[in-house]
């Protein structure tokens, strides 16, 4: 009971902080401390969000399709790589540094190259998202697989369990916590990755919309799309949290 009321108070504080900042922003715009075409007031941003809503949704659909496809493939590939690396130590030692290396290449640097190779359709965008999302999943799962109690493994072996049973009963469920915290990161990477890759060319999507309104100096629409993107990211992360609660009921009953 106490914890619940505490979390409500916490929410109250963060809500009032957000509201306060909005008022401050509105005040600055109303008093024309900053030119309104440079910093549109929250009220104008809100209006842009409403009037542009149908258009934004069209673009969001494209961005979300890319993000989901990329995230799904990234997680699946991350899973497969983690399982292979966990099982074959030589593969782990050969490819682990290489995988880390792929992460030192900045996404923005890679995107134009992918556009040149695969064109302006969805393929290069999905590839880019896969490349950024598989990595946290692989790393999280690998450390999860490797952190299991060796005594628990020998106990299962003493019951006659083979590698498949040990994976199923110990390694996989034991790595779920690490998996979900990585998955959460990957989910937010997916949306950002999709937007960035759209900046560099494409026929639709929130990133394309963003470059268009930028060229038109429509700052209110610019802010509107930024807010939409962060809302989408938050919702995705919330979705992952809900999924993780569903998949790890034991975490709720401590």
């Amino acid at each position: 009971m106490k914890r619940k009321s505490q979390s409500i108070t916490n929410k109250l504080w963060s809500c009032s902080a957000v509201l306060g900042l909005l008022f401050l922003w509105q005040g600055i715009s109303s008093l024309r401390l900053i030119e309104p075409y440079l910093l549109p007031s929250p009220e104008r941003v809100g209006r842009a969000l409403i009037t542009e809503f149908p258009v934004l949704m069209e673009h969001a659909k494209i961005t979300l399709t890319e993000a989901f496809a990329g995230l799904f493939l990234g997680v699946v590939i991350g899973f497969i790589i983690a399982i292979i690396m966990d099982h074959f130590d030589k593969v782990y030692r050969a490819f682990y540094p290489l995988i880390v290396l792929t992460q030192t290449v900045p996404t923005v640097a890679l995107a134009p190259l992918l556009v040149l190779w695969f064109g302006y359709e969805m393929t290069p965008k999905i590839i880019l998202i896969v490349m950024t999302t598989f990595f946290p999943v692989t790393i999280g799962l690998l450390s999860g697989f490797r952190s299991q109690d060796p005594d628990a493994v020998s106990l299962l072996r003493s019951m006659g369990a083979g590698p498949v049973s040990i994976f199923r009963y110990i390694k996989l469920p034991g790595a779920m916590k690490q998996f979900f915290s990585s998955f959460r990161i990957s989910a937010s990477y997916a949306v950002v990755g999709a937007v960035i890759s759209e900046w560099l060319g494409g026929f639709g999507g929130l990133g394309v919309y963003m470059t268009r309104v930028k060229k038109a100096f429509a700052f209110d629409k610019m802010f509107a799309v930024i807010i939409l993107i962060s809302i989408i990211s938050l919702l995705l992360m919330k979705g992952v949290d809900m999924l993780s609660k569903k998949c790890m009921p034991w975490e709720q009953k401590q």
Binding site: D151, L155, R157, S158, M159, A161, P173, W250, Q254
Partner: protein, 250 residues
């Protein structure tokens, strides 16, 4: 009848010999304790007997059949309860049945039948983190029991419990042992516990470890509650302590 037999076991790690020439026998329905100092090779011997590691020399036989290095022939329980935190209690104890290929629903209902006997009633759907230390240990024992091998190897199963819980567990264990006919080999470094529970006590001493003495506890089972404060009990204890002392000097 001899159930489990070890002959001339030798095992070393990193060039250090842990066990040398260890032989022992466990007969049907017997409870034999293996007593010795920590780090004296008791757990290594158990791993050899459970088939989890292969000795350089010697053999392990069950009912005369060679089982050296073959896991899955005996029930094995460690000091840590090793209940998996992400499985409910019933799914934890049913694990040996699931690994044996039983269907989930059948395994659960079979495991549930024993919850009352093991003092775990109503905990089926809880998670291990919600149980007390004694309950967790009983759940681990039930899991060991459900593996249903006629031989159980218990490696200091009660040593992590506080004294009062431990005492209650001893009484409970002796009662349960009568109901479920098991042959048990029991590791402990607690002399009182060994005398209280065992038919025979084997003393594993020295480096490398050998079995240097066998003590037979003639007190009948089920044992009287007064046994652990009786004169005979102290006599056994004196004999064991004297032997351990003389081994230390050598």
């Amino acid at each position: 009848m001899v159930h489990l037999e070890a002959k001339g076991i030798k095992k070393s790690f990193d060039g250090r010999t842990i066990l040398e020439g260890v032989s022992l026998e466990l007969r049907e329905g017997e409870l034999v304790s293996l007593l010795g100092a920590s780090g004296g090779g008791k757990t290594t011997l158990f791993q050899v007997l459970a088939g989890l590691c292969i000795p350089e020399e010697g053999h392990v036989l069950i009912d005369g059949e060679e089982v050296t290095g073959k896991p899955g022939k005996v029930s094995y329980m460690l000091q840590k309860d090793l209940l998996l935190p992400y499985r409910t209690v019933v799914d934890n104890v049913a694990l040996p049945l699931l690994i044996g290929g039983m269907k989930k629903r059948e395994a659960r209902s079979k495991a549930s039948q024993y919850f009352t006997l093991f003092g775990l009633e109503g905990t089926q759907k809880k998670y291990p983190s919600q149980l007390s230390g004694g309950m967790r240990q009983r759940a681990a024992l039930l899991r060991t029991y459900l593996f249903s091998r006629p031989i159980a190897l218990l490696d200091e199963p009660f040593s992590a419990l506080d004294m009062l819980t431990k005492h209650a567990m001893h009484e409970w264990y002796l009662k349960v042992m009568e109901e479920i006919k098991l042959s048990t080999l029991f590791i402990t470094h607690d002399i009182d516990e060994a005398i209280l529970l065992s038919d025979r006590i084997l003393l594993l001493t020295g480096a490398p470890g050998r079995i240097t003495k066998e003590i037979i506890i003639r007190e009948e089972k089920p044992r009287n509650k007064e046994f652990h404060i009786s004169e005979e009990f102290l006599e056994y204890k004196r004999e064991i302590l004297k032997h351990l002392e003389s081994e230390k000097i050598r």
